[in-house]
Amino acid sequence: MNQTLQNNTKRKKERRYSINETKERRRTFYFLLPSLIGVLLFYIAPFAVVIYYSLIDNPIQKNFVGLRNFIQVFNNSAFRQAARNTLTFSLAAVPLVVLFSLLLAVLLDTDIPFKTQFRTVFITPLMVPIASVVLICQVLFDYNGAINTMLVSFGSLPVDWMKSGYAQFVIVLLYLWKNLGYNMILFMSALSNIPTDVLEVATLEGCGSVRKFLYIKLRYIMPTIIFVSILSLINSFKVFREVYLLTGDHPVDTVYMLQHFMNNTFNSLDYQKLSAAAVIIAIVMIFIIGALFAIDKRFGGGTEE
């Protein structure tokens, strides 16, 4: 009897507490509202409409046509070209940027002088607007530019950098220049978060620095590698900026990016094509990100507390 009473008051206390907490939860929920409404209004709801548009023939008649728009986009040679270019660019640029930024971070992690100065230099490009350095790129890589002048003085033929297959190469360089710093910082912070006792034990057991890197550090920074890959992939989709600023609306075929295709389709106001293309890109992105998350789950676990 006595015990049940006690239990009752206990339960009452618990319930009162939980009511309090639900109140609090509700109150904090209001903080989320502005952002949630904005995101729903500007991103989620219109994206639902985009999906709807990709399935009908035109906004006036609204006949359901199934996958016809998608097939049309897939058969569009400009879209294929753009997708191929963007994909090759990403496949070239993302591994390069991950490797180089990891290399820089590892080098800066060792015992060398002027660490902070080097670090500052490497993240400076992050803060420089691309539009500002485009001029210099033109001076360097133009057909009559400084690099060709140098090549000719060494006796080789001039290369038409911006109007041939080499344009991809120039864009990759520019992308590396811009993105190395940010990734390097991510890697540096990951490296400094590795527990030192593990490394000390390894040193006592006679591990060399190469082994320590391969077997310990690499394992600990695996989640960061995945994250940096995702970020770099996203940024490689943004490289249209550099291409546009360097070559304008109509670049050579090799650097015709997906965003060029979107811009041209915007100009012709073909909503169906546009929506189908956006949906396709979204699906591909979700697949890639999902795959990277899966890799993260497979290899990234185990080191996190």
Partner: protein
Amino acid sequence: MTGTDNKRYRSAAEELEEKRRRSRMIHRKRRIKHGIYVAVVCTFLLIVSLIFLFPIVLTITNSFMSQTEIAASYGKIFSSLTGKRVFVAEVVHLKLIPDMVSFSQYSTALIKSPDYLLKFWNSVLLVVPITLFQIAVALCASYALARFDSKFRSFVFFAYVILMLMPYQVTLVPNYLVAGWLHILNTRWSIILPGVFSPYAVFLLTKFMKRIPSAIIEAAKLDGCGEWKIFTRICVPLCRSVIWSVAVLVFIDYWNMVEQPLIMFDDQEKYPLSVFLSKINSGDVGLAFAVATFYMVPTLLVFLYSEDYLIEGISYSGGIKG
């Protein structure tokens, strides 16, 4: 007896000496090895940093050249940009240091031709509101997301992450549709509003706010703080450095923008300087360097002022999980 003892002592002493010498040798070898390593790494990093700084320094120094000097150095390049591609055997010199420092480019760019200043102002009008309001909205949202854990909240956070990872090719079409519905196409709002609700800042701030120990919040609650007071008096001040770095990152991202204005704006009058700089024709090359330098000054200043915060903020952005 004593003789053998002496011998033994001597040999022991010799052995010790030998040992010491050897360890000294190893030590010295190791030091030399380390010295070589440091030298190699430093030269490598030095070369890389020279490459990194080269375009920036060149832009800045070239902005102090006079129009005639620029034309003499690079005139050939920019006059042939649109024409046919003939290789002229003339040598193009990259000039690091101008023959004569002149501010004439700046005075023409900033005073005599108001076009550039107007475009610069366009950039400011777009970027400053986006940065301020995105931070404000994101602070509230991240407070809500970090304060309590629930299935719904982690779902929202996950959705924001996915949205953040979507490229412009995906998000610009929905943004364009909404701008059409709200009749704000071709106005600044069509870029500002989607920018304000961009999930990037929410992601970063939530990750940081989750690190605030709940004991502090409990203590504030016991002292009679409401949610709003906890938010403004405790969480926001604790996040100050991260807020600053997120603001810098958002600012630089939008300062660079190219995609949105190309799609949302019909008339080029509203273009920000980032887009406009690429449309410079051959006559204005000298000016262009001055304007380019002028355009990177705000971001470089912000960077020099906030480097440590920025690095701290970037470090927190690693990893998807909250």
